[in-house]
């Protein structure tokens, strides 16, 4: 598992119930967009994340809807296992 993937997981593990958009993960993990979105899609395909569209009307807020990602229960368990193996200090 790459360092960038660990940073993505760490961003979600700060509060596992949060739903985060790509831009939020990018800020928390200090990741470039070219790195972030392939990781999100990869983890979603593997069942670690689920995603949904933001429940807003784009015309009313004047911007497109954001895609929100959330850890699945199995994703949370596996991410926790990963970090228990490596220790959180690995990303410090």
């Amino acid at each position: 598992m790459s360092l960038q993937t660990l940073r993505v997981l760490e961003a979600f593990l700060e509060n596992p119930t949060d739903e985060l958009a790509g831009a939020d993960v990018q800020k928390r993990g200090q990741l470039a967009s070219g790195t972030l979105y392939p990781i999100l899609l990869r983890l979603e395909s593997a069942g670690w994340f689920v995603s949904r569209w933001e429940a807003v009307e784009p015309s009313s807020i004047g911007r497109p809807r954001r895609r929100l990602y959330r850890l699945t229960p199995s994703g949370l368990r596996r991410a926790s296992e990963v970090f228990s193996t490596f220790g959180r200090g690995v990303l410090a």
């Binding site: 967009s33 979105y37 949904r52 569209w53 015309s59 895609r67």
Partner: protein, 310 residues
């Protein structure tokens, strides 16, 4: 792109704002273009997602950097998902779960394959050109200047000065050097037919000193290099042949006593150079000229014949 998330028409902007909007426009264009290249299943989703995330980036070049990153992400995503069934979650329209095929290159040949085929084709073309003599023809066309030039009204020819001995001052020769008509020794034939002393065809040489001297002219001796070894490759390739006359001065040990020079050109600089190289390489392998049976140092013309053999 979902038409619902088109921003409303904005009021006219001031000049600084307009400058700031340029990277933003470029960023939007890059994202839309990148998303389209991610394949039909993902393009709508990624475009809307990335445009939404673009909107929360800081204005200016941060957005441009974000968009460039999305272009890279498209390449990675397309590479990873090519040919695989990838569950991508809810569709762009938000109507339930959709499992879609990620981007697959619809064309028979990818760009990389086409480039590879072009490179292979160029190699085949070059090999074919070498094998069929096309390159030789090209060299002939390039090497040989056209015989026909611009024709203009001929000017009256300048009077050609009469050449006299005073036009070409030559250093006085001191004995034992002589410039005499070469004599080929009939008893000891040269090892190569291509390099044989020939009668001097230049300006008249001074008369030999009086007195009966039995002189046997030297020439290529045993171990003298073969002419073919010094046939210029370019000349051989374009079928260039000719005879170059080299003036050599050979001492009484069969070695060159001075640098050989071209006495009569073959008409080709390459062949002349090849003849000079041959003459230099033969130093130490010349038969010495003898006078009354005694080896002497002597200068004489050496003809080097370059001819193509089947």
């Amino acid at each position: 792109m979902n038409p619902r998330h088109q921003p409303a028409a904005s009021p006219p902007h001031s000049a600084p704002e307009e400058i700031l909007r340029q990277p933003e426009r470029l960023a939007r264009w890059l994202i839309q273009r990148a998303a389209r290249h991610s394949g039909p299943a993902l393009s709508a989703r990624l475009e809307e997602e990335w445009l939404a995330d673009l909107a929360v980036q800081r204005r200016g070049f941060s957005r441009l950097r974000f968009a460039i990153g999305c272009c890279w992400a498209t390449r990675v995503i397309a590479h990873e998902h090519a040919g695989l069934g990838v569950p991508v979650g809810s569709s762009a329209t938000g109507n339930g779960l959709a499992v879609a095929l990620a981007h697959q290159d619809p064309s028979l040949f990818s760009r990389r394959t086409i480039v590879f085929l072009i490179i292979v084709g160029l190699h085949v073309l070059v090999i074919y050109a070498f094998a069929n003599g096309l390159v030789r023809k090209v060299i002939e066309v390039i090497e040989q200047p056209p015989l026909v030039g611009f024709v203009s009204h001929p000017a009256p020819p300048d009077p050609v000065p009469q050449l006299t001995e005073t036009n070409f001052p030559t250093p006085p020769l001191t004995p034992p050097w002589h410039e005499l008509t070469p004599i080929v020794d009939p008893e000891e034939p040269a090892p190569s037919n291509d390099t044989a002393p020939q009668p001097w065809q230049g300006p008249p040489l001074p008369a030999p000193p009086t007195g009966a001297v039995n002189r046997v002219l030297g020439g290529p001796g045993r171990g003298f290099p073969d002419t073919d070894q010094y046939y210029p490759v370019a000349s051989r390739r374009i079928g260039e042949a000719g005879i170059a006359t080299v003036r050599v001065c050979v001492d009484d040990n069969g070695r060159l006593a001075s640098e050989p020079s071209i006495a009569h050109s073959s008409g080709s600089v390459r062949l002349d150079e090849g003849a000079l190289k041959l003459a230099r390489a033969g130093s130490g392998h010349y038969r010495t000229t003898t006078e009354n049976g005694r080896p002497v140092s002597f200068c004489y013309p050496l003809n080097v014949r370059f001819e193509l053999r089947p």
